[in-house]
């Protein structure tokens, strides 16, 4: 977010001061049941059995996230390219899309539980449903904004419709697709953790809620630290991949600003 990546002493100082305040307040007593000191959460993280459990839950959450997110990307990009390119396909689906889109995606969880039970399939399905929307809509937008001259260029080189879709429309829409993927990344994580809370038997969402109900707040906070790290790591990974894939586009913007 910042061009300036200097070591932020003031920021770290404020952060440390807040943690210290929390630590002192908790140690003063009387609040153990809901606000253990941060050191207790850290200690929980380093306890072998908690760490082992957390690792297992992390693996479950990550697996469901990747399954749902990647499948959503594949399906939504494919559908978006077709809907963006074919006026007929778009006009047929437009009303249905407009009706389904405003419904908060988590409302699909009960339906998914009914149809798929309470396993990984259900959680991956709801993640696909929720994550697909931003990708689909942005892909449609990107393909619809495709420059006519680019299509004609492909045609003058003798490319047929399918090849133009694949070699011209898809890469030209890539920046839009990337926007969709960026928006749906946290959404996918929300859906995975939510479905784990509502109907899970493992995963970080399940773990955090379960530790809360079992009155082990230190473990709950440890779980939150892990899920925050997961969110942070996924975001960094996405930014790095995007920077490589769209290196040509970043240049374009840099020149436009100059």
């Amino acid at each position: 977010m910042r061009a300036d990546r200097r070591f932020n002493l003031a920021g770290l100082g404020v952060f440390a001061a807040l943690l210290l305040l929390w630590e002192l307040y908790s140690r003063a007593g009387g609040v153990e049941s809901y606000l253990p000191p941060p050191s207790a959460a850290l200690k929980a993280l380093t306890e072998p059995n908690v760490a082992r459990a957390l690792f297992g839950h992390l693996a479950g959450t990550l697996g469901r996230f990747l399954g749902g997110y990647l499948l959503a990307a594949a399906l939504a990009v494919a559908a978006g390219v077709v809907l963006g390119y074919s006026r007929f396909a778009y006009s047929v689906s437009e009303v249905i899309i407009e009706l389904l889109r405003p419904m908060p995606s988590v409302a699909i969880i009960p339906v998914a539980i009914l149809c798929l039970g309470i396993g990984d399939a259900m959680m991956i399905a709801v993640t696909i449903y929720a994550a697909a929307w931003p990708i689909l809509l942005n892909t449609i937008d990107g393909v619809r904004n495709l420059d006519r001259t680019l299509v004609d260029t492909g045609r003058t080189f003798g490319l047929g419709r399918v090849k133009i879709l694949w070699q011209v429309a898809l890469p030209a829409a890539a920046p839009y697709i990337a926007t969709g993927l960026r928006v749906s990344l946290p959404i996918a994580l929300i859906l995975v953790t939510t479905s784990e809370m509502v109907a899970g038997v493992n995963g970080l969402g399940f773990f955090i809620l379960d530790e809360e109900r079992s009155l082990r707040p230190a473990n709950m906070y440890a779980g939150i630290v892990v899920v925050a790290l997961l969110g942070y790591a996924l975001n960094r990974l996405f930014v790095a991949v995007e920077a490589r894939a769209l290196a040509w586009k970043r240049g374009l913007q840099a020149k436009g600003e100059a």
Binding site: N8, P102, M103, P104, V111, I190, E212
Partner: protein, 247 residues
């Protein structure tokens, strides 16, 4: 109406009719997919009995409280962080640490502190809405043309009035972007928090209908939710168009 819209409605009717036929023919488990006519009848009945309006009203109270709280806190905070490098750097680490936390996992924390009442839900909505509003406000304020602020100062405007008269209007489009993103997040989080820790609200209603196997009521609740999302979105567009008139 555009001809393309007509084919869209024809397609919608076809899907609804197909659903009805398949359900009536017994090709699908009626426990999972009741006939469309039954769902719509149930929706109308729940609407007339006041059940759905009441549940939606409960959800909307929480949603509005969390949403407006987030706007009230995060717009001024964002302006401060956008204008002052010092404020920004002081809070940067805290913001960057909290932001990647997926909002649903804040629900258990809030339940510890606040139980399963409205306070918990309002806090969770506040937490999840805060980020888009805050980050967009910071960005919007930062991207203001420095000339604009200088102009205001040559007219002798005091700092407070400069913010009110120049900074906020100039950053308004991007602040509205943040508010629009947060609006859809609000709806998601109110439903989630009602599913996990509640005894009323539309999110609870839908999940509870599923658990009691009143599947037609579950779908009716989803229809209500979709309508609610649509209306809120349209209302937002209407308001933001008025606020950003001439832009």
């Amino acid at each position: 109406m555009r001809p393309s819209k007509i084919s869209g409605f024809v397609a919608l009717l076809a899907v609804v009719a197909a659903w009805e036929l398949v359900a009536r023919a017994g090709l699908v488990n009626p426990l999972l997919f009741p006939a469309m006519s039954k769902i719509l009848a149930s929706f109308l009945a729940l609407l007339a009995s006041g059940e759905i309006p009441a549940q939606i009203a409960r959800s909307m109270e929480r949603a509005a409280a969390g949403y407006f709280l987030a706007a009230t806190v995060c717009i001024p905070l964002g302006v401060a962080m956008g204008l002052s490098e010092r404020v920004y750097r002081a809070l940067e680490v805290v913001v960057e640490t909290l932001r990647p936390v997926p909002p649903p996992v804040v629900i258990p924390v809030a339940m510890l502190f606040l139980g399963i009442g409205d306070g918990m839900k309002i806090f969770v909505i506040f937490f999840s809405c805060a980020w888009p509003i805050l980050l967009n406000t910071i960005d919007g304020v930062r991207n203001i043309d420095g000339l604009l602020v200088d102009t205001a100062r040559t007219f002798g405007l005091a700092r407070g009035r400069t913010i009110l008269k120049v900074v906020l209007p100039a950053a308004a489009p991007q602040i509205m972007t943040g508010l629009r993103i947060s609006l859809s997040i609000t709806l998601i989080l109110v439903v989630i928090s009602e599913m996990i820790g509640s005894t009323d609200g539309i999110g609870y209603f839908i999940l509870n209908a599923q658990r009691r196997l009143k599947v037609d009521q579950m779908y009716a609740g989803m229809i209500a939710l979709a309508l609610l999302g649509y209306i809120l979105n349209q209302a937002f567009l209407f308001v933001s168009k008025r606020l950003l008139r001439g832009r």
